[in-house]
């Protein structure tokens, strides 16, 4: 038995496909990015070694700073707007019984299964100043005048609204699962003791949901950092980089501005930031959970 389970050849064949995929699709491109990050390669012609020039430039690049700021704004939007709402809706949904519960749960998640390509174009139309849904809604409530939702001052908030709207169902579903896992006996006991809705929520639901909240918050921060597709189609980082995000910026620099070397340098810093934030969040939350 022991011999069978330590057969090197068998182990090698079992892990080989996974390791090959990892080396080829994840590690190799990272190494290549590190290499090109030190060059002034434009995408064509020769790559010249320029040392740390790209990284020095990146440090002083306001567009990159703006990208990180926007990720922070988005993360705050997720945590302060989307998550409290999602949790309240999840708690309310849990109180329903029968068919309605399933129907609402299904409805809330529908935007999540729709392609970002559709969502981004749809919202472009919703924000359209001429016939967009949003201006028409305002008209119904008596506000006149065409608001330009994607102007330089408004665009970032409009982008945040789309992202908060689109991811709502996902966050809700995870909180909902967390609430469903709470032992109903606790609620019965609370109701016998005459506890009201708010007391029950803040004394039982919230504390027991702590691990789920931590997972959800971690995922929200990381997805705010990695945001690209919606922004790429909705505003492409504009106007004037006001809705820029790191992933979109590195793509633009490499393929639109033909600064492939610089784009890769952004990529390297971007990867470091993502890994650092993930590790940091996991450490902080693990300590908290043990404490």
């Amino acid at each position: 038995m022991k011999k069978l389970y330590s057969n090197k050849w068998v182990i090698f064949t079992l892990v080989l496909p996974g390791v090959l995929v990892f080396l080829f699709a994840i590690l190799a491109p990272i190494c290549l990015s590190v290499y090109y990050g030190f060059t002034d390669y434009s995408g064509m012609g020769e790559a010249r070694f320029v040392g740390l020039d790209n990284y020095v430039k990146l440090f002083h690049d306001p567009a990159f700073g703006r990208s990180l700021l926007n990720s922070l704004l988005l993360a705050i939007g997720f945590i302060c707007i989307q998550h409290p709402l999602a949790m309240i809706v999840a708690a309310v949904l849990d109180k329903l019984q029968g068919k309605a519960e399933g129907v609402f749960r299904c409805i809330y998640f529908i935007p999540n299964v729709i392609s970002v390509a559709v969502i981004a174009y749809l919202w472009k139309f919703i924000y359209n100043p001429d016939f967009g849904l949003l201006n028409n809604v305002l008209k119904v409530f008596g506000f006149e005048g065409q608001v330009n939702w994607l102007s330089q001052e408004n665009a970032i908030w409009s982008v945040l609204v789309v992202l908060i709207w689109h991811g709502f169902g996902w966050g809700m579903l995870i909180y909902y699962t967390g609430i469903k896992n709470i032992d109903p006996v606790l609620y019965e006991a609370a109701s016998i003791d005459g506890a009201g809705w708010w007391t029950t929520f803040s004394r039982i639901t919230l504390p027991l949901m702590k691990p789920v909240i931590m997972i959800n918050v971690t995922m929200a921060i990381i997805s705010a950092l990695k945001q690209m597709e919606t922004v790429y189609l909705l505003t492409n980082g504009g106007p004037a980089n006001s809705t820029q995000f790191a992933a979109n910026y590195l793509y633009q620099q490499a393929f639109k501005a033909f600064k492939y070397g610089y784009g890769n340098a952004i990529g390297v810093v971007f990867i470091i930031i993502c890994v650092a934030v993930t590790v940091l969040l996991n450490t902080v939350f693990r300590d908290k959970q043990e404490a």
Partner: protein, 278 residues
């Protein structure tokens, strides 16, 4: 008094649920509504329109000029292959890292899981270069390789958790009967993993079905383009015919929404299991 308060509570409860449902669904209803009218009718002050004549021809145009069938076929094929590969590879690697006795098991597992932290979009630039050099751009491999690679860490993470929970006695009995490791993995362990395979399959599908950044970077001809391209390419072609653009968006969203509504219980469960554990 008490029943009165309960009633108010119920009203508040339903108001919240319905308001959120309207916010989540109304844009989609608006989309379908406008896709059935003509472009001129869009310039209205109301929220919805009642089309003078229902314009099914918008959908006919979307279906034909959006390459709907070809792109749908590509999406189904590529995503199915990606799911199968992720499941098989993650069971193999998960079993080797959890059950087999070797020194590097934890190192290899951690290394493979690292992929979860790497932002996909940072690999777009170097991977484009790599695929171009070895000549896989514009082939099915340009999508399959990264789709498998970026779903594998999550798949592996879920699988190792589930494999651990299988009682060792079953495998011991199989060894007594003279089973080799490969047979144990694929004939004894895999059937027991059915629920987790479903979870991994659902998560992989959701990750990749709507992906278009990699697809639009690595592909140039329509041969392997996936469903989101129906929308991406269409907006240029019919830039002034808004109603047809709305039709193509509704049409592109339809397969995923229909499948989701039919399988919603399983998908909800899969996402809940996958996300909370991942």
């Amino acid at each position: 008094m008490k029943t009165g308060r309960k009633k108010i509570g119920k009203v508040v409860l339903w108001t919240i649920l319905i308001a959120v449902a309207v916010i989540q669904l109304f844009p989609l209803i608006w989309l379908i509504d406008f896709s059935l009218g003509s472009s001129n009718e869009m310039f209205t002050n109301g929220l919805l329109i009642i089309p003078e004549k229902i314009r099914w021809d918008n959908y006919a145009k979307a279906f034909v000029d959006g390459n709907f069938l070809l792109y749908l076929k590509n999406s189904v094929l590529i995503n199915t292959l990606a799911v199968i590969l992720v499941v098989i590879i993650s069971i193999m690697a998960g079993y080797a890292c959890r059950r087999m006795k070797w020194k590097l098991n934890n190192f290899v597992k951690t290394m493979l899981l690292l992929g979860m932290m790497i932002p996909i979009h940072a690999t777009l630039l170097p991977n484009y270069k790599i695929y171009n050099t070895i000549g896989v751009t514009d082939t099915i491999w340009a999508l399959l390789i990264p789709y498998v690679a970026f779903s594998l860490p999550q798949g592996l993470f879920l699988m190792t958790g589930f494999i651990e929970s299988i009682p060792m006695e079953l495998e011991e009995a199989a060894v007594m009967d003279g089973c080799g490791i490969y047979r144990i993995v694929f004939q004894v362990v895999t059937p027991l993993l059915k629920p987790s395979i479903a979870t991994v399959a659902i998560m992989t599908f959701l990750n990749n079905w709507n992906e278009f950044m990699m697809a639009s970077t690595y592909l140039s001809s329509p041969t392997w383009k996936t469903l989101p391209f129906s929308v991406l390419e269409f907006t240029g072609e019919y830039s002034s015919n808004y109603a047809v653009q709305f039709a193509v968006m509704a049409l592109t969203a339809a397969p995923a929404v229909i499948v989701y509504i039919i399988l919603n219980k399983h998908i909800t469960k899969g996402v809940a299991m996958g996300a909370v554990k991942g």
